[in-house]
């Protein structure tokens, strides 16, 4: 398919992809210690299944999926459990989280791997297997894939299954490399998705600055009917909503899901891990990480989950001079970490060691001059300057009325703002405030309900007592009728 449907806005950013995309994917070195977070996905934290001192094998489940929206966590290699406690993790909050610390034994001894014949399995059994294999979206959103593979009445069958290989963030090349090197496995994973979701059409969106990946995917898709669709290089074409619009001209509704318009979207790397999990019985224990920026040898590493960032940096020859910020993810949406002893998780698609040369130095923030540049680039068709105004003035209701929650935090507005206003920061702040208030309101409502229930119960008990008393004292000729809830009794007849 050559036609595509442009989305509004977006920006042309610097690319810097070739730095890391010139070398093949390197296997990660086996560190002596792995710190595996139990919360590497959207949803409930996995429940730990091991205790310090336990020996585990490679691929053994160490954290159990807790509920429907959750995913299991596995030992990335064989070894001994050192601790189950809170450790620093790569999260914007900077707060520690529950992790399993594993001392590796260097033998890399697998559990027994059992391939599944997915064509024979009932879909819900297959979904359970996927959840237990820890398969989540590897584009960075880490939403449990089993949940997305259940249409559950949202639509009968999908119109379009979209595979996201756009990779629009600068510097990043992990999806590019996995498509170049593992196209056949990705397609094998797509077969599984197709089996469950039964789409009319399978579209694979790849930005047109990755000719090798497009060629590899085209070759792997030959004879399958899956279409590889080059899309123009324009950030954020890899946003699920933007890619959907590009490929199908459909817009996911505000407050709705993509399945409402018959579309489901997965990252290409997710399809790869799905294939490994189902056809080889290998749970998700590693992922491809782009390590780039100010390191001696920028490259992509197939890293075990739990490997410290610092170990990967060391494998790439260490930092070059003048690293100012360490960013997980791309420079547009990634977040800056203040330490490098945090572990790789399923969300770690890129580690960017950035110096002043890569970054824009902080500029003085000027007042908004209402130039409207942010409006021109906003892919969600919002009025970013208006949202900023409301967030700053703490007029959260108005911000919500102006569709604050349609903001995908892509950063295009901040990118072009001549006044250098950290717009996205204001939107995150406003969203958090609204969520916090919502929660408060819910709690207050709950308390009010409890209070009302208690008052009603007390009243009922009182009336029952009174009624009993009256029964004991013989009523006069006429019947006494208690008017419920008032405490007044009337004479009847």
């Amino acid at each position: 398919m050559s036609a595509w449907f442009p989305f509004h806005g977006g920006v042309k950013t610097v690319r810097h992809k070739t730095e890391s995309s010139q070398r093949p994917i390197q296997p990660g070195l086996l560190p002596s210690r792995l710190v595996v977070p139990l919360h590497q996905h959207v949803g409930a934290t996995a429940k730990p299944m091991v205790q310090p001192g336990d020996r585990v094998l490679k691929g053994q489940m160490i954290g159990q999926a807790d509920g429907y929206v959750s995913a299991a966590v596995h030992a990335p290699t064989s070894g001994r459990i050192m601790a189950v406690d809170q450790q620093p993790v790569p999260h914007p909050s900077g707060l520690p989280d529950w992790c399993v610390t594993l001392e590796t034994d260097g033998e890399d001894h697998w559990i027994e791997r059992k391939p599944l014949d997915y064509r024979r399995l009932h879909p819900s059994d297959l979904r359970n297997a996927i959840r237990n294999a820890g398969v989540v979206g590897l584009g960075g959103a880490v939403f449990p894939s089993a949940v997305k593979m259940n249409l559950s009445g949202h639509c009968e069958r999908l119109d379009h299954l979209i595979l996201n290989g756009a990779e629009c963030e600068p510097w990043m090349s992990c999806d590019d490399l996995i498509m170049r090197e593992r196209a056949a496995e990705i397609v094998a994973g797509i077969h599984i998705m197709v089996h469950v979701l039964n789409p009319h059409q399978v579209l694979i969106g790849i930005e047109d600055d990755k000719p090798e990946a497009i060629a590899a995917m085209n070759a792997a898709c030959a004879g399958t009917g899956y279409q590889v669709c080059p899309v123009p290089t324009r950030y954020p074409s890899g946003g699920a909503k933007q890619l959907t619009k590009l490929l199908t001209n459909k817009e996911a509704p505000v407050n709705g899901r993509s399945t409402d318009i018959g579309v489901q979207c997965f990252n290409v790397a997710t399809a790869y891990t799905l294939h490994r999990a189902v056809n080889h019985g290998e749970p998700v224990i590693s992922r491809i990480v782009t390590v780039t920026g100010q390191v001696a040898h920028p490259q992509n590493i197939d890293a075990l989950l739990g490997t410290a960032f610092a170990d990967l940096i060391a494998q790439c020859g260490g930092y070059s001079d003048g690293v100012e910020r360490l960013i997980m993810g791309g420079p547009m949406m990634g977040f800056a970490l203040h330490r490098d002893d945090v572990p790789v998780t399923k969300a770690t698609n890129c580690i960017l060691a950035a110096s002043a040369r890569e970054l824009t130095l902080e500029q003085p923030v000027m007042p908004c001059i209402r130039c409207g540049d942010c409006v021109d680039v906003c892919p969600a068709d919002l009025l970013p300057q208006q949202l900023y105004w409301y967030a700053r003035a703490k007029e959260f209701d108005k911000a919500r009325d102006h569709h604050l929650f349609s903001c995908i935090e892509c950063g295009c507005c901040s990118y072009v703002c001549p006044s250098h206003i950290p717009l996205v920061q204001y939107y995150r702040y406003a969203k958090n405030e609204i969520w916090a208030r919502e929660k408060e309101k819910q709690q207050a409502e709950l308390a009010r309900q409890r209070h009302r229930a208690r008052m009603e119960r007390l009243e009922r008990e009182k009336q029952e007592r009174e009624a009993k008393l009256r029964q004991k004292a013989p009523p006069s000729r006429a019947e006494l009728v208690v008017v419920p809830g008032t405490g007044i009794s009337e004479r009847n007849g």
Binding site: V254, G334, L359, T360, M366, I369, R370, G372
Partner: protein, 342 residues
């Protein structure tokens, strides 16, 4: 090793308020050159004087409001205001006229309303209107453009003397009415448009000398739109608004109403469309809103020119639409991605 943590995005486009403002200044140059060619050194003297006064006033206000001097003076927004106003002043405007105009613009219209980004009214036009209302005679004394038979071309020294009030020669012989002035007074005298337009003051299209300045501003303005330093919707809206209403009246009675091309090409129509109305701070900020905002200015310009008390109406029209901008924005919000098509 500890690293700095800042929120995303971590890369930014190379742009700044100062860059945008400086581009506006560059874009004004062709028009300014044409004005100086036809009206002499006075334009240049006014520009320099206005710039100096504006920078001093801006600095003083910034100090008083305890804002960082370097970043806010460096944004050159005060210079833009000064130039926008100075270009609209008569070439031999006495020095105090320029000073009063610039001070009204920078001190009152800009800083007393909250400074850059907060002022609801276009500062340059506030300055202009203050002068127009307070000093109508000084504001309408324009030089006769070069090549239209003025008896004497002023030297730089003579210009300076004239502006600073020590002129050794009488200026009356050198000054005359602007084309829009002529049109207005003669229509009032009952002449037909055809008769009036035979006057050499009207040049090829819309005023000897003036039309070249207009051409210069058009070139600069188109460049601004091309590099996206100005929103295209505003000039398009304003010029179409003016053209539509002028054409309507012209078709009804071509002897009483000037043709649309004369309206478009004369006075401050083009200059206002590309340089005044496009001031982002005071304009509408939504794509559709900008079209409406521009069209509103265009129509008001015609109404003021045709039926109001002043020969040109760009300044008043812009200020009137400034008031309406927030309301326009409210009703022209773009359709949000994924919202149902209207």
């Amino acid at each position: 090793m500890r690293f700095r943590t800042v929120t995303s995005p971590h890369v930014l486009l190379e742009t700044s308020v100062g860059l945008i403002m400086r581009r506006v200044l560059y874009a004004m140059l062709p028009g300014i050159v044409a004005l100086i060619w036809f009206f002499g050194w006075g334009i240049g003297v006014n520009l320099v004087l206005a710039t100096v006064v504006a920078l001093l006033a801006e600095a003083a206000m910034l100090v008083m409001r305890s804002k960082p001097l370097a970043s806010h003076l460096g944004d050159t927004s005060a210079v833009v205001t000064a130039w926008l106003l100075a270009v609209a002043l008569p070439p031999l405007a006495p020095w105090w006229l320029t000073v009063i105009g610039v001070l009204s613009a920078i001190v009152v219209a800009k800083h007393l309303y909250g400074g850059l980004g907060y002022n609801p009214f276009n500062p340059a036009m506030v300055g202009y209107v203050v002068l127009l209302i307070s000093f109508p005679r000084e504001m309408s004394t324009w030089l006769i453009p070069h090549g239209l038979g003025q008896p004497h071309t002023l030297t730089l020294l003579e210009t300076l003397q004239a502006i600073f009030g020590t002129a050794p020669i009488s200026l009356d012989a050198l000054t005359g009415a602007t084309p829009l002035d002529v049109l207005r007074t003669q229509l009032g005298l009952g002449l037909s448009v055809t008769e009036i337009r035979n006057s050499p003051v009207f040049g090829i299209v819309a005023g000897h000398g003036w039309e070249w300045a207009t051409l210069g501003f058009l070139a600069g303005g188109l460049w601004l739109v091309y590099i996206r330093a100005a929103a295209w919707q505003i000039p398009v809206g304003m010029l179409s608004g003016l053209a539509v209403i002028a054409t309507g009246f012209y078709l009804v009675d071509p002897q009483h109403y000037a043709p649309p091309w004369l309206h478009l090409w004369s006075g401050a129509a083009v200059y206002g469309a590309f340089f005044i109305a496009t001031d982002p701070v005071t304009a509408s900020a939504t794509p559709r809103g900008r079209l409406i905002y521009g069209a509103g200015i265009g129509m008001l310009v015609y109404i003021i020119r045709g039926f109001g008390g002043y020969p040109d109406g760009v300044a008043f029209a812009v200020l009137l639409m400034n008031i309406a901008a927030p309301t326009i924005d409210l009703y022209t919000q773009p359709r949000v991605f994924g919202a149902r098509q209207r």
